[in-house]
């Protein structure tokens, strides 16, 4: 112990220890500030259900077209009218998409308003515009499209 206290060599090592500790303190201060930055902006980008709403819209648009083609196919072997078959198929789609969104904790309502045909008949090339009400609610964001105008013409 005596020799350790009297030994004055190694001053540079002691000094470099001081310098290193100051650098580490500075870095720690900087790191603490960086942790604060950008929480709310990134959280808003994550929490806002932009893609969910957009997907719901796109699905509904796609399915309105698919259901149109499908109801013509079914009409060939059925004696129900095309609008009746369309309404029935759309009801199926609606209940399915509502269940799918309910799994994610979102309330969704997709309902058929009207099937429109410019010349009044409902042949293969006549149905051109479908009106659909879409609502979406995840507790924080409430979206309503009344009506969503979907062009299904060929």
């Amino acid at each position: 112990m005596e020799s350790l206290r009297k030994d004055t060599k190694g001053q540079w090592i002691a000094l470099s220890g001081l310098v290193l500790s100051l650098i580490i303190i500075g870095l720690a201060a900087l790191a603490n500030q960086a942790a604060m930055a950008g929480y709310h902006s990134s959280n808003a980008a994550l929490e806002f259900p932009k893609e969910n709403i957009r997907e719901l819209n796109l699905h509904t648009r796609d399915n309105a077209k698919i259901i149109k083609d499908l109801s013509f196919e079914i009409n060939k072997t059925s004696n129900e009218s095309i609008p009746d078959i369309y309404t029935q198929l759309f009801k199926n789609y609606s209940s399915q998409i509502e269940k799918l969104h309910a799994i994610h904790g979102e309330t969704v309502d997709v309902s058929l308003v009207s099937i429109n045909s410019t010349n009044g008949t409902y042949g293969i090339n006549d149905i051109d515009i479908i009106f659909v009400n879409i609502t979406y609610n995840d507790g924080r964001t409430h979206y309503e499209s009344k009506p969503e105008v979907i062009e299904v013409g060929a």
């Binding site: 004055t8 001053q11 500030q33 604060m36 930055a37 950008g38 929480y39 709310h40 902006s41 959280n43 808003a44 980008a45 806002f48 932009k50 709403i53 957009r54 819209n57 879409i134 924080r140 964001t141 409430h142 979206y143 309503e144 499209s145 009344k146 009506p147 969503e148 105008v149």
Partner: protein, 147 residues
């Protein structure tokens, strides 16, 4: 130089004590005079600037995201939460100047600190207005195609 480092004469223990005491007194008097600025105001300024920029960016993000999905016939509204204080001060989010300048302001009323965030030219096609205080209970952005 080598001689200077090896030579340990010339400093008595008492002089060393006095020197250290004087340095310590000087150091602490400077620190205690400026303590408010060094430990509270300067960090507060940094935190406020960071947090207000963050909140401005949040508003900008939400408005841009909403703009991308607004229904042609219908409405959309979204609630959001903001911290009541940025640093130690309450603040106001002001979108009333968005139409002319394409920016949103986050302002602290008590100290006048202000951060401006751009909204990327959205307000020319979709009018944006409104102000809200950070301390109010409900924060909401809403859009209605019929208004």
């Amino acid at each position: 130089m080598r001689q200077l480092f090896k030579n340990e004469e010339g400093v008595s223990t008492i002089v060393e004590y006095m020197l250290f005491t004087l340095i310590c007194i000087g150091f602490f008097s400077i620190i205690s005079i400026n303590a408010e600025d060094i430990f509270i105001n300067d960090p507060n300024d940094v935190v406020m600037k960071d947090e207000m920029t963050d909140i401005g960016n949040m508003m900008s993000t939400m408005i841009t995201d909403m703009y991308l999905i607004v229904p042609p016939n219908g409405n959309i509204d979204t609630e959001y939460r903001t911290p009541v204080r940025a640093g130690r001060e309450e603040y106001t989010i002001d979108a009333d100047i968005a139409y002319e300048d394409q920016i949103i302001e986050v302002i602290s009323q008590s100290s006048g600190k202000k951060v401006r965030v751009t909204i990327g030219g959205i307000a020319t096609t979709m009018p944006i207005n409104g102000t809200v205080s950070s301390s109010s209970t409900n924060h909401m952005i809403s859009y209605d195609s019929r208004r």
